[in-house]
Amino acid sequence: MGIEGYLIVSTLLFGIGAFGFMARRNAILMLISIELMFNAVNLSLVAFNAFLPPDENAGAVFALMIMAVAAAEVTVGLALVIAIIRTRQTAEVDQYSDLKG
């Protein structure tokens, strides 16, 4: 497969993630959607890395680092979700509307 195939998959995944983020109401699902987007980025990076002529592996290393960051991100995100559910009993972001101006 050429690079286009991978990029198209990556794009689709990114779009799906973005859709999920915008369309879903559940905080955890929104978080999952963001993870999908991160993964789309990773796929692009690894694909670029594989097909780019100067083989420095920057893409692959970057992808690895993004994974680590994503792990941290999920940790923090879920901690926040747990904290908010303690005070609100729901993970539906629609119902988080105390902050209004």
């Binding site: 689709l12 779009g15 955890i28 592996n57 792990a71 979700v81």
Partner: protein, 182 residues
């Protein structure tokens, strides 16, 4: 570095890697779509794992086994578990709410399609001028790179993880447990 390079390529024969690519792509996209559309959040999480697993396959196909392994290790082994864990801690039963979607689904659809369309167009449009076949990212090379060239980013990540962990522990801990912890 020119378009002709790739356009004169032989029509792709259906080799094993192509078949695998299409299978995995179907897995990625299909499971991805399932993630954002299924109603039961645990099903979403499971679909997410399938999606991530397929992505690991793609990385392997792209000659980056170490990334694939990391994908399985981090995303399937750690992040998914964490997410499942959180789902169970927080919303064992919210799973089947009648309306899992925002009202602005149409907007989301439009935006997502716009992103896909725009980027997809750009993918096709761009003269990538790259190698026709995936090159392999050697494990040794990556390992060496991480500890020499990328030493600084690597250390930054360690700080990032430290603060994320401490912060997350603090946030997820019950308030009354704080009293005990200090």
């Amino acid at each position: 570095m020119s378009r002709s390079n790739s356009s004169t390529r032989e029509p792709t024969t259906l080799d094993i890697s192509s078949v695998l690519f299409f299978l995995l792509a179907a897995g990625v996209v299909g499971a991805g779509a399932a993630v954002v559309t299924l109603r039961n959040i645990i099903h979403c999480a499971v679909a997410m794992m399938i999606c991530f697993g397929s992505l690991a396959g793609m990385y392997a196909l792209l000659g980056a086994p170490i990334v694939a392994a990391a994908q399985v290790l981090i995303y399937l082994g750690a992040i998914s578990v964490l997410i499942l864990f959180a789902i169970m801690l927080t919303q064992a039963g919210d799973a089947n709410l009648p309306a899992p979607f925002h009202r602005q689904v149409p907007i989301a659809v439009v935006v997502a399609l716009a992103i896909i369309g725009l980027v997809g167009w750009a993918v096709v449009q761009t003269d990538w001028g790259l190698a026709a076949e995936a090159a392999s990212a050697g494990v040794d090379a990556i390992a060496t790179a991480i500890f020499t060239t990328y030493a600084l980013p690597f250390e930054i990540i360690s700080m990032l993880l430290l603060v994320a962990i401490i912060g997350a522990i603090f946030l997820a801990r019950r308030p009354e447990e704080d009293e005990r912890a200090s």
